[in-house]
């Protein structure tokens, strides 16, 4: 089950919101925690995954309590140890798979551990919770259900956002569940759903659609125009996929009476790579700032040290994404190094002449970011394929392979061209502004929302029955 399954939209979500609203304040944590457990079981379809999450919860619940009462060196020692355990847990599935693959040993059946769905987000929330307890920002949570409701919260367990415990708790105490809050949540939920289904899922067809997708043709056999179409399609897909998800998560949060932090703030309107990453996946950036960059001294230290700190942050960012996605870790590390290069150049002031120029900066940023996503592309699984892809993008120095259909891009262009054009408009703040202006004309706003909702549902059903067409 995901946010896009009919079962979630029509059954699970209404039920849990109703139960949550009807439950008194005291029962809400229990309702949310148990509901989230049910959701996670349906989403992962794997008891083992649930067991791993549960052991993380139990461990960190106890760890929080101990850190809360310990003092002095003991407190620090406990915190460091528990964080170390969490980090090992986070890394272990990947390390095990790397070891088994490189030595081609196979684990006995049942022991082969795949990382549970959303594990990296989950562990980051755990670690941030311990950090906040250690820093004294929050008191260790005494109630198991309350901590469970925060950590396993179904609105965030699959792909974030990584909300901090302090923020979550404060927001929940201030907010209340009402018809108005539920209504407001539905708006965000529908907008997110529409971005994901009507834009992201259309656009990614360039890469994955049955016979004609780049992944099916094989990267070495695509025409150069198709390579470029895919070059623009993947970043658009990634943005609307993740932005759509984040809006849905926020919408669900509103229905449950709390606010979710912003995860995206029109990142493509940025003028530098550093700014882009302050406006893209904001909660992850914040996590790294709070838990890696600042503890290392941040930028309040000699320049050389700052550079090292940034390297550490981007090393972690690369590793974290490699954990999140299948595929080759090397590509993600290359991606992180590529971005780090530009961030360092920006930090050292070497690119000021571009960033301070209104026109140049808006050319520089998309170009760098688009190339970074080409390296990141989760449809390109190996370093060799990445090389092949760039050769197809820039075919001047090599011969065209024998098996290329020079008109393969035409079909895709007809298929997704319009969606990509609409997508580009939705990268700008313009649609939000239009929306803010017209949302007060109630019948119009409601009509638009209903159309978006049913259109999305229609497409979900059609594709659900026909997941892939050969």
């Amino acid at each position: 089950m995901t946010f896009y399954s009919p079962g979630f939209i029509f059954i699970f979500l209404p039920c849990i919101v109703a139960l949550y609203a009807l439950a008194g304040k005291k029962l809400r944590n229990a309702v949310l925690f148990l509901g989230s457990v049910v959701f996670y079981l349906l989403a992962s379809r794997d008891l083992m995954s649930m067991a791993i999450l549960a052991s993380g919860l139990i461990f960190n619940y106890a760890a929080g309590l101990f850190i809360g009462i310990a003092e002095g060196r003991m407190r620090k020692l406990l915190f460091v140890f528990c964080t170390f355990v969490n980090a090992c847990a986070l890394l272990s599935p990947k390390i095990i798979s790397i070891i088994t693959e490189s030595f081609s040993v196979s684990l006995p059946e049942g022991l082969a551990i795949a990382a549970p769905v959303g594990f990296s987000f989950y562990m980051f929330k755990n670690m941030s919770y311990l950090r906040q307890v250690y820093d004294g920002k929050i008191k260790a949570e005494q109630s198991f259900f309350a901590l469970g409701a925060y950590l396993v919260n179904f609105a965030q367990v699959l792909s974030g956002p990584i909300q901090t415990y302090a923020d979550w708790k404060k927001s929940r105490e201030e907010g209340k569940v009402s018809i108005a809050s539920i209504n407001s949540g539905i708006y965000e939920f529908i907008i997110g759903l529409a971005l994901k289904i009507l834009l992201a899922d259309r656009i990614i067809r360039v890469w994955v659609a049955g016979l004609y997708g780049i992944g099916s043709i094989g990267i070495d056999s695509i025409s150069t125009p198709l390579a470029w179409l895919g070059f623009f399609a993947f970043p658009l897909y990634l943005y609307f996929e993740f932005y759509g998800y984040s809006l849905m998560s926020r919408g669900i949060g509103r229905m449950l009476g709390y606010e979710t932090p912003d995860n995206f703030l029109h990142p493509y309107m940025s003028r530098s790579v550093s700014e882009f990453w302050r406006r893209w996946h904001i909660t992850l950036g914040e996590w790294f700032k709070e838990n890696v960059y600042f503890p290392l001294g941040g930028s309040r230290c000699p320049k050389g040290r700052t550079v090292l700190n940034l390297c550490a942050v981007w090393l972690c960012t690369g590793v974290w994404h490699a954990l999140c996605f299948d595929g080759n870790g090397i590509n993600f590390m290359l991606w992180a190094a590529f971005l780090l290069l530009f961030i360092l150049l920006e930090k050292l002031g070497a690119l000021d002449w571009i960033i301070k120029n209104k026109v140049l900066s808006h050319i520089y940023l998309p170009v760098v970011i688009l190339f970074s996503w080409a390296i990141f592309n989760t449809n390109i699984l190996t370093l060799a394929d990445l090389g092949t892809y760039f050769i197809r993008l820039f075919p001047f120095f090599s011969q065209t392979p024998e098996y290329v259909d020079p008109s393969d891009w035409v079909r895709h262009f007809k298929d997704v061209g319009v969606y990509m054009a609409v997508g580009v408009i939705f990268l700008t703040p313009l649609p939000r502004r239009v929306y803010d202006k017209f949302k007060n004309i109630k019948p119009l706003a409601v009509a638009v929302m209903l159309v978006l909702f049913w259109l999305s549902v229609y497409l979900i059903f059609c594709e659900g029955a026909n997941p892939m067409v050969y």
Partner: protein
Amino acid sequence: MKNNHPDGGLLLICLLMTILLAVVGGLIVSADSENPIETLMFFFRDGATSAPETEAEVLEGEDTEPIFIHPPVTLPETTAEDVTVPETTASPEVTEKPETTAETPVTTQKAPETTKKPDTTKTPETTQKPDTTAPVTTKIPDTTQKPQSNEDYFSDTLFLGDSRTVGFYLYARIPGATYFARTSMNVYNVFDDKVSETKDTSAYNLSELLAERKFGKIYILLGINEIGYSHNSVVKNYSSVIEYIKQYQPEAKIIIQSNMHVTKKKSESNPSTFANSRIDELNRRLAALADNKKVFYLGFEEIFDDESGAMSPDYSGDGVHLYAKCYKLWREWILENGKIY
């Protein structure tokens, strides 16, 4: 918490009302699906003409009548049942072990085929070998002439199939041969009023093409799109498709190509549909449609297999379609072993 949408719950009310409407609408339209909203959505998609049909429904109805929606011509009082029976009794066993066939009725003939695994591997080989080495000389005496050149042979050959055949056309087409192929084609919709996705025949739907042109050999590859459906229903429809083609092209030899496997990952992703064992079973039963007079069977799915008997991940990115560069294997196999005289 600031409320950004002060409309007094209007959206919530409207949403609940439309959901209620959808449920009621779904109940009125048809009771086929368990989920009324789903029913209504399919109603919008498929229109009122065809009953909404879900995979599950077809799967459970193992013995459902074929859902052949668009027959191009009406068969002279043969039901699909009648069509299948003679086809299956003839079967490849004629070539294999002639002594058993004569008295084997349909029902018993099926049993050993499903239980005995070795038969699967034998069937394709035995049908293909005679074709290549000694072109079925015993069966059809008038084809003993020397083998034609590729150009002559394929000039009156039609390749008919789903997206895999589209790929064959796009990336390794055999010069001179005609292709009629379309993504998502299956035995239920092959005679739909849709044109081919291949350029050379893109002006026709299948009935028009068959009425317009005369073919000597028609190679068919269908089955992967309908692999989730019951084998009975698929095979019945497959044989009706053959019968319909025969009516248009009485002279043509019809050659059934085996369905390639999917990769192990794909097979395990959805075992109730894409299991390679299901594909094997379908191929086995398609092989039984061959009479080696007019209808032949070519089993070559294993040329794309890895050692585990699934399609090798080196040949396919999505698990179902060959990489563009791999279609040549298919072409080479057909050129070397796949000619029927």
